[in-house]
Amino acid sequence: MNRSLKKYFPVFLLPTLLAFVISFVIPFAVGIYLSFCEFKVITKTEFVGFSNYIEAFTNSDFVNALWFTVKFTAVSVITVNILAFTFAMMLTRGLKGTNFYRTVLFMPNLIGGIVLGYIWQMIINGILYPFQQTLYSSADYGFWGMVILTNWQLVGYMMIIYIAAIQNIPGNMIEAAKVDGASSVQILRNVTVPMVSPAFTICLFLTLTNSFKMFDQNLALTAGQPGKETAMLALDIFNTFYSRIGYAGVGQAKAVVFFIIVALIAGTQLWLSRRKYEAEV
């Protein structure tokens, strides 16, 4: 078995590998090269060294977008996880209609980001209308609009992960804690939370990366308005690349910086979960 696997693995791997190289590795390499070039169309490029990177960081748009994204990510990681965990706790108590509520909470996750963005744009504008304001009147509205939207979309998904983890806690552990006279707060702190900590790691990083690289929700909800104050990183990169003539290279440089940040986050997660796994084994 092992021998024939060794013999035939190129045959099985090749098509996927080819597709991966064509659609991922090559564009990625070209992308890095382009970040050092000035160009309008990608077939005519001129090498300019690091000037695109310098321009990206001296231009306030990128730094603002980065700061906005960091603030947004911090807030939404906390709110999404707290809400998801609370819902998971509520929906693992065998209450009536549990399955119905789980489904309802999960539903928004099945709707695409653009659609959700437009729906929330209408809802928020509708709420603000009597006050003679719109979503674009202040960057704060856009910020909190994004937070609400992200919670709406991600809470259900994270909740499912937490539910799975909570259901995996052996019943006798909780029973033992009860027999020992632990209060429900103590059970939560000393039994439930430690037992679901792998799920915490997963959910934390899923929300972190999802909020960090958010694009379609941002585009549909505010499109960066007012001004560019609510543009997040991905949207800022898109706008730099496409809507400013001669700035495609700068957009590409921003994209490379963006990649490095996301890769760092993902790498940390990998390292953390591996360390935990090894500690357990």
Partner: protein, 451 residues
């Protein structure tokens, strides 16, 4: 045996993969006739172009592919399409600023029939002696008004004036608008002006078109004999000296509108046009291309005879002699990198469209273009009401049309920054000085970047 089977199977998979990647090249088979790939800029003309394409292929046998870019995405669509092996053979350039990005891709049209057909050769976009792109339609914008509402107002006993012809200056216009606002219940309107649309990507009616008027006066005041567009193209900086006029007009728009100033950040051009079409507003600033939008609103109450246009006044000296703003940002160029057969086919298509009887018929009736070509007789004018209004203003000898100075604005970024400041001003979160600084500073910095 097994080995062979595996080999064959994997070969099949790879071949499928390769075939899936190369599906696009079906049009290749047209032989040495050449084929046309036209990347269309105007989404409102998409249906009309499909009809044009069908009859062109019917008459000449040359295959033609028309692709329309979604509104506001033309530049990015073109940037990605032009790198492909099947690149557009005909594409649009939006004026002298746009030409800077696409210069290298433009075929020299000197000596072609298409260029010879142009009634005024100076309209073409040139780079030295090379003719890069040729305009295909002349457009005009101003304040579109609903004549039946205006007539109702003029019939009132205490109306400020009794006919639109009496409105020749900003002061009169302002008096009329404010009086109409006071009487809006009796006139049955929600506001004199349709919403001042300031949503993202929808600010061009103010940052390009309304701004055209003060900048025309600014460059015009530098010297009567100078061409304001060319002066603007060479200006490193601007004073925005008529910013008061711009502010007065903008204030008039936002304070006498269907929509409160704090709410305009969510409004789009389509919203404004439907408010006008439904009779909620008496006026809207836009150009002749908007006719299809007005006519397309379901339940519209404006009859075609009632759609009229008048100039924008901002209180500048001598403005009673100026008409509506007339110009173009629609130029067609032929891709220099296309094969010779494709280039010839593309030229043939454009010449056919603008000079053959069938083609001209489409231009006048379906596309509604006011064409700058001498193949059109004087009586061959577009049939739509706004198009004929523009023609009327152009041929009105009493006034001089205002050229499109905004085609020389340094970049889109300039307009966006201008629009951001303008929105903040309208919402009350920024003051007017910020708008003036945004305009002067960004003009200078964007000019420096793009030159």
């Amino acid at each position: 045996m097994k080995k062979l089977l595996a080999l064959i199977l994997s070969a099949v998979i790879i071949m499928n993969l390769a075939a899936a990647c190369g599906d696009d090249d079906v049009t290749e088979e047209s032989g040495n006739e050449g084929s046309v790939y036209f990347l269309n800029f105007k989404p409102e003309s998409e249906a009309a172009y499909k009809k044009v394409a069908e009859s062109f292929t019917e008459e000449t046998g040359i295959p033609i592919n028309i692709v329309t870019a979604a509104a506001g995405t033309y530049e990015q669509k073109l940037a990605s399409e032009i790198t492909k092996s099947e690149a557009p053979t005909i594409f649009q350039v939006n004026g002298p600023i746009g030409l800077e990005s696409w210069e290298d891709h433009c075929m020299d049209l000197q000596g072609t029939d298409l260029y010879e057909m142009l009634s005024d050769k100076s309209l073409a976009l040139k780079d030295g002696d090379e003719v890069c792109a040729v305009p295909y339609t002349v457009e005009g914008f101003g304040i579109i008004y609903n004549d039946s509402i205006m007539q109702n107002y003029f019939k009132m006993e205490d109306s400020v004036v009794e006919s639109v012809d009496e409105i020749k200056s900003f002061d009169t216009f302002k008096a009329v608008v404010e009086d109409m606002t006071a009487k809006k219940e009796e006139l049955g309107i929600e506001g004199v002006f349709a919403s001042t649309s300031m949503a993202s990507g929808e600010q061009w009616r103010w940052t390009s078109h309304l701004a055209n008027v003060p900048f025309y006066h600014e460059f015009h005041s530098l010297g009567e004999e100078l061409d304001p567009v060319i002066t603007a193209l060479g200006s490193e900086s601007v004073n925005f000296s008529y910013n008061e006029g711009f502010k007065n007009m903008f204030d008039l728009y936002i304070n006498n509108s269907v929509t409160a100033p704090t709410l305009i950040g969510g409004k789009t051009t389509a919203d404004s046009m439907s408010e006008f079409a439904l009779g909620k507003a008496a006026m809207v600033q836009n150009g002749n291309w908007a006719m299809s939008q007005i006519a397309g609103v379901s339940g519209n109450t404006v009859t075609e005879d009632d759609v009229k246009m008048m100039p924008i006044y901002i209180g500048a000296e001598g403005e009673e002699d100026s008409g509506i703003c007339v110009g173009t940002e629609n130029y067609l160029a032929i891709n220099d990198e296309a094969s010779d057969a494709d280039k010839q086919a593309s030229l043939k298509f454009l010449e056919w469209l603008f000079s053959s009887e069938t083609g001209k018929n489409y231009v006048l009736n379906d596309l509604g273009f006011i064409s700058p070509f001498n193949t059109f007789e004087d009586d061959e004018k577009p049939a739509d009401p706004l198009g004929s209004q523009v023609v009327e203003w152009i041929s009105n000898k009493g006034v001089t049309s205002v050229p499109w100075v905004f085609t020389a604005f340094p970049s889109d970024e300039f307009k966006n920054r201008f629009g951001d400041a303008l929105l903040q001003y309208a919402q009350g979160t920024g003051d007017w000085n910020n708008v003036v600084t945004a305009v002067t500073e960004n003009w200078a910095s964007e000019y420096a970047l793009t030159r």
